[in-house]
């Protein structure tokens, strides 16, 4: 039994920030983070990026000291990631915003459409339907955040929340403005268009929920290792045969159906941006899967079956 020593240097200045004596060889990085936090209370573990190389990737909590290429005296580098915020908190804030902002426009608050139109309601049933669907979507997302999702990274930098909120809340306001406007024009193909859109919406929301449940089941025991998701008995999960990230596929489907339902250009624009963003995320995930698993199903595409 040889006890190790760990010195932690600042990644930029290379100044020694701390020297840990008598560290057990099977200590995890999580434990080292806790020890570092004791010496520097303002740098809580989630904020610490500990790496082997000043320009390298951050080490994961589960890594064990003696398995690292360091020898008995390890030199690690520390980088401050800035104030962090938990993913759950982020999602709760991001999704509650659009929910309530939409209501401001639906109920026609006086400062939105002027005093003459305050608190009036629209003669078009589709406007009420749109409100129900929009709210349903975000309530579902909030429920998933609290009960379903299991996050692989605990936190994200604080400044991300400002950026994300501006985007989600801003777009929610913009599209809610036009849908609930007194001069709103209902869809050109009338009831056929609306019914089609509603059915597509419900199917996609059910699909999206099924996928989230399936993904969360993969991590049931609190494990943080990645596993290949497979189709289950639920027909909605059968999209896994064709696509790596069917949750994104269904999400885009939801927004396309909402665009058809409301026939509103801002909604279409939001759908387009969602599609672009989710394609980027899906491709990322897809290539990560391909790299990690040699036996990854070859039929699968990132987000659209056979195409993208």
């Amino acid at each position: 039994f040889v006890s190790h020593q760990v010195e932690i240097l600042d990644w930029k200045t290379k100044k020694q920030l701390c020297f840990l004596d008598k560290v057990e060889p099977n200590a995890t990085i999580r434990e080292i983070r806790l020890m570092f936090h004791k010496l520097y209370p303002r740098w809580y573990p989630a904020r610490q990026s500990i790496k082997l190389d000043p320009k390298g990737k951050s080490l994961r909590d589960e890594e064990i000291l003696q398995h690292l290429p360091v020898g008995t005296t390890a030199t690690l580098y520390f980088k401050d990631l800035g104030p962090q915020i938990g993913w759950t908190t982020v999602f709760l804030i991001e999704y509650t915003g659009p929910l309530f902002i939409y209501f401001l426009f639906y109920f026609r608050m006086p400062f939105v459409y002027g005093l003459d139109e305050r608190f009036t309601s629209s003669p078009h049933p589709v406007v009420n339907l749109a409100c129900i669907c929009h709210s349903f979507h975000y309530i579902k997302r909030l429920i998933e955040t609290v009960f379903v999702h299991r996050f692989s990274h605990g936190t994200m930098p604080l400044r991300n929340i400002v950026k994300n909120c501006l985007y989600y809340w801003g777009f929610a306001a913009w599209l809610a403005y036009y849908i609930n406007h007194p001069l709103y024009t209902p869809p050109s193909y009338g009831k056929k268009q609306i019914y089609f859109a509603v059915i597509m919406f419900l199917l996609c929301e059910a699909g999206n929920f099924s996928i989230h449940v399936a993904l969360s089941d993969l991590r049931r025991n609190g494990s943080k290792t990645r596993k290949i998701p497979y189709p289950t008995k639920n027909p909605f999960t059968w999209l896994f045969f064709f696509v790596s990230c069917p949750n994104y596929t269904y999400e885009v489907g939801t927004w396309i159906s909402f665009t058809i339902m409301t026939q509103c250009v801002p909604v279409g624009l939001f759908t387009l941006l969602c599609f672009i963003q989710m394609t980027i995320w899906a491709k990322d995930k897809h290539y990560t899967y391909l790299r990690e698993f040699k036996d990854y199903p070859s039929l699968r595409m990132p987000i659209i079956p056979f195409l993208l």
């Binding site: 001069l183 026939q263 250009v265």
Partner: protein
């Protein structure tokens, strides 16, 4: 430590060495046939000592030493021996290598359309140069004759030619796209679209804008810049470089480009109220798309983009200028 010196054209050498007969002091002297530089260069290794002596005058010697008989201890190293005929042969070899290289280079497939492409580019640049010269001369003459009054009907007289030149400028994008010209695509696209937006949309579609004095300045700045740019391109296509033109092309933009940008900005600012009032290119509610498009708002965004674009482009052009003009300056020093 060897004792090496040259005095009166005689090389003196004295050193301690370990030889076959043990440690001894070795020395010799050599008097050179013709004058040599008094400072020899010495390099010592484990097994030998290299002394390099430089001739005062570069020419071929009959022999090394002044005395006619070669000293017994002196033996030529024929690996390094060089006499007149040898040197000539070396030169000839070098020349042959050069000719071979050129032959290999010319074996690379020649572009059959090379002359056609060059001809087209020269024609394009020439036509543009003539067009903008016509615009510039016309505007200058009218300025002298009519003074400030020429500002108000600049558009009326010049627009057709400007439409022609700027429509033709779309070819510049095509040239960059198909690789005919080595310049990057995006700056070309930005320049052509930026100018055409002002010309066709902001000025062309609003009669009220066409009689404003700012039009004179926009057209004038555009044409002066092109007066230098197109001839420079024409000459560089043929492979000629006229240094004063290069200097002008890479210097005149410094006042002209920002001024041109300023004139365009004034154009947009003046047009915003007109677009607001007339609602041209704008879409209001109710409409089946359920969106409102306010062209005047889009113009305001465009204005910000214009300032940013001019700023970024200015830095890029300045770097380009340093590349093309800089190194020569250093040589002159």
């Amino acid at each position: 430590h060897p004792d090496i010196a040259i005095t009166d054209n005689v090389l003196h050498f004295k050193a301690q060495g370990h030889g076959a007969k043990g440690d001894n002091i070795y020395e010799f002297q050599i008097e050179f046939l013709e004058p040599v530089e008094p400072k020899p260069v010495c390099r010592v290794t484990q097994r030998q000592l290299n002394i390099t002596v430089q001739k005062k005058e570069s020419n071929w010697w009959e022999r090394l030493t002044k005395q006619e008989k070669r000293p017994l201890f002196l033996a030529p190293d024929f690996d390094r021996w060089l006499d007149e005929s040898d040197a000539e042969m070396e030169l000839k070899e070098k020349e042959e290598e050069k000719i071979n290289k050129m032959k290999i280079e010319s074996r690379v497939p020649k572009d059959p359309f090379k002359h056609l492409k060059k001809g087209y580019l020269v024609m394009y640049n020439l036509v543009q140069f003539l067009g903008f010269s016509w615009i510039f001369v016309n505007m200058t003459v009218r300025l002298f004759i009519l003074g400030k009054d020429s500002f108000y009907d600049t558009f009326h007289t010049i627009a057709d030619m400007m439409y022609f030149c700027q429509t033709l400028a779309l070819m510049e994008i095509m040239n960059s796209l198909i690789g005919l010209v080595r310049s990057p695509l995006i700056p070309a696209v930005m320049q052509v679209f930026g100018r055409n937006f002002i010309l066709f949309v902001v000025l062309g579609s609003l009669e009220e804008m066409q009689s404003k004095p700012v039009v004179f300045f926009v057209f004038y700045f555009w044409s002066i810049i092109e007066l230098f740019r197109y001839p420079y391109y024409m000459l560089s296509c043929i492979g000629i470089e006229w240094k004063p033109l290069t200097w002008l092309r890479y210097t005149t933009w410094i006042p002209l480009y920002p001024l041109g940008g300023l004139a365009e900005a004034v154009c947009i600012i003046q047009s915003i109220p007109i677009f607001s009032e007339t609602g041209k290119y704008s879409l209001g509610l109710p409409n089946p798309l359920n969106v409102t498009i306010q062209f005047s708002f889009l113009l305001q965004i465009y204005l910000i983009a214009l300032f940013l674009g001019v700023f970024v482009n200015f830095r890029h052009l300045y770097k380009q200028r340093k590349q093309h003009l800089g190194p020569k300056k250093r040589k002159m020093k």
